[in-house]
């Protein structure tokens, strides 16, 4: 069994389990007709659709996060080659990280990590 086969088999087992839960729920539910309901509004009716352009005040954090996340893409292979590449690999990676961390400090001082 190869890794792919194993992953797909595990996915199959998980999906079967989920299907089993939904199937059992379908078999046991006391009422098959769906209940027309309203989203919870503390007892009041909703005034409008909730899906909207949500104002995420932390969007600057997402920019920071993206920078680090791209860095992670390099860091995973980096772990494998440290001993081959020698000190230069470590120095380069940590200089890069230091640059990113300087960016974090700057963003922090600018108040990007607070949004309320």
């Amino acid at each position: 069994m190869s890794g792919f086969t194993a992953a797909l088999s595990l996915l199959g087992v998980a999906v079967l389990g989920v299907a089993g839960v939904y199937g059992a729920a379908r078999a046991f539910r006391v009422s098959h007709g769906p209940l027309p309901a309203q989203p919870f509004g503390s007892g009041l009716e909703p005034a409008e659709h909730a899906v909207s352009r949500f104002h995420v005040r932390w969007y600057t954090v997402t920019m920071l996060f993206l920078a680090f996340d791209m860095e992670m893409v390099f860091m995973y292979p980096w772990t494998l080659v440290i001993s081959v590449m020698g000190p230069s690999a470590v120095i380069e990676m940590f200089v890069f990280l230091a640059v990113l961390l300087a960016g974090v400090v700057h963003a922090w001082r600018e108040g990007a990590l607070r949004w309320t």
Partner: protein, 496 residues
């Protein structure tokens, strides 16, 4: 089918309870919380996750439509009961469990949902006339009743699905359906009003009730949506999309209108704050008037009202009640802060104090709670700077109690409560007579004309604007106006 019965019994052994308190229902709520805790029936915060709706407290007509809204959103199998007195709680819960576990009844209830005969009289024949039959003059919902009445005019199946606020016609339709009395299937010794019935068409009450009355009801499937409001434009689900508004930086952004209350877990019962949210930040906050529940049952301030009426009351009794009231507030605050383990600890202490446990037994545990919560750096870090209310501002707003003495943010207020609780437990055996003016009542200096919770409530909107939603909940919980006092004041005003 036997297997279904087994599953039903298993589920009914631990129903999730939507405990809804009505102003004036504090004593019942306390009894219910105690019973649910000892039975291990967990609390649900929304109808979707609940099996059982327990209404604690007396009937309050203005809240009926809100209660019905929650009830209509609960999926089968479900049960709804009301406890009017603390002694009823246990038997009412037993009855509810029996109803949840008996498949026949659940099926019958389902049939009620399906064929739309759920709406009918509710054991208060007169109330329908008051709540739904008399729409306010000029109410858009009532004006809009034309298409709505069409929906009701159709056979009952459709009426049930299309149950939408229809104003006069809708209410008439509901009355017409009334004679088929499903309540006969559910004999309950405690309350004929609050039953496992589906009041699907029970929207007359909402139609006459407020600005939301004109909205179409549960999505799809109903015949009543078309041509309804908004210039005849068809709206998905009968609702408009979010509108836009300027935020504090002048950006035009989507905003949502989200009410907090009247019936929300860990929230002063009946209080409604209408929020305008951009993202999860409160842009505007407006206080609805308290619901016109005219309860005069003041649980937390009873020693003070009795003493004011000339009865002899011991200081110890008042101190005990005050400590319990603040533990109750703490329980709510800790629950909102997402610390259920300590919320349970505070509520257990509260119940023991009310059960007249000796001070010597309660004191060490009160001190332990004060240490754990009061000295928690995490809780302090999470709540500091939220909802600052200086002593001077508080006094100017008429706030007198611990909120004014604390003079600070949320942690200042909960630490004040904790310190007061320990002090009060120490003097809970004091037998000196109570001076209702000199001794502070739980929320502040007692004044029957203007109970201290009124000022607390009025201080809320200003504090909420600009807060993140979670912080807004913490602010309300840290001031914690007593809904009974608001209802009491309402009753006093009504009496003139």
């Amino acid at each position: 089918m036997d297997l279904t019965a087994v599953v039903l019994r298993a589920a009914a052994a631990r129903p999730r309870v939507l405990l809804v308190t009505v102003p004036g229902g504090t004593a019942v709520r306390l009894a219910a919380e105690r019973a649910l805790r000892s039975r291990d029936w967990p609390s649900a915060s929304t109808p979707a996750g609940a099996d059982l709706m327990v209404v604690a407290g007396p009937d309050c007509p203005p809240l009926r439509s809100a209660l019905d809204r929650l009830w209509q959103d609960m999926p089968q199998p479900r049960a709804r009961v009301r406890a009017q007195a603390p002694d009823d709680v246990s038997s009412v819960l037993d009855a509810a469990r029996d109803r949840l576990r008996s498949p026949g009844r659940s099926r019958a209830d389902v049939r009620g949902t399906a064929d739309g005969n759920g709406h009918s009289d509710r054991g208060h024949p007169g109330d329908r006339g008051v709540g739904g039959g008399v729409p306010r003059a000029g109410d858009p919902a009532a004006e809009d009743g034309g298409p709505g009445s069409g929906a009701y005019g159709e056979p009952p199946e459709d009426g049930s699905r299309g149950g939408r606020p229809g104003g006069r016609q809708g209410a008439v339709g509901a009355h017409r359906a009334a004679p088929d009395d499903r309540r006969g299937g559910h004999p309950d010794p405690h309350d004929t009003a609050e039953h496992g019935d589906d009041r699907r068409a029970d929207h007359g009450g909402q139609g006459g009730n407020g600005e939301h009355g004109g909205r179409a009801d549960p999505g799809g499937g109903s015949g009543g949506h078309d041509g309804h409001g908004n210039g005849g434009m068809e709206l998905p689900g009968g609702l408009p999309m979010a509108e836009q508004g300027e935020d504090r930086d002048g950006l035009t952004l989507d905003r949502l209108h989200v009410p907090l209350g009247p019936l929300l877990a860990d929230w002063p019962a009946g209080l409604t704050v209408r929020l305008v949210l951009q993202g999860d930040v409160v842009q505007e906050a407006a206080l609805d008037g308290p619901p016109a529940c005219t309860s005069t049952d003041l649980f937390w301030t009873r020693p003070w009202t009795r003493a004011a009426a000339g009865e002899p009351v011991a200081v110890g009794e008042a101190a005990r009640r005050r400590a319990a009231a603040r533990l109750d507030s703490l329980g709510r605050l800790l629950s909102v802060a997402g610390w259920p383990a300590e919320a349970v600890a505070a509520r257990r202490l509260r119940d023991e104090l009310l059960a007249e446990a000796p001070a010597s037994a309660v004191l060490p545990r009160a001190e332990r709670l004060a240490r754990r919560v009061g000295r928690s750096r995490t809780l302090y870090w999470l709540t500091r700077g939220i909802g600052p209310l200086s002593t001077a501002d508080a006094r100017a707003a008429g706030v007198s109690g611990p909120a004014a003495r604390a003079g600070g943010d949320v942690p200042a207020r909960y630490r004040r409560w904790l310190a007061d609780v320990v002090d009060d437990v120490r003097q809970s055996d004091d037998t000196a007579p109570l001076d209702p003016v000199a001794q502070e009542s739980p929320r502040g200096r007692w004044d029957a004309a203007r109970p201290p919770s009124v000022a607390l409530t009025e201080a809320l909107p200003g504090l909420l604007v600009g807060a993140e939603l979670g912080a807004a909940r913490l602010i309300v919980a840290s001031l914690d106006p007593d809904p009974d006092e608001l209802a009491f004041r309402r009753a006093e005003v009504a009496r003139g």
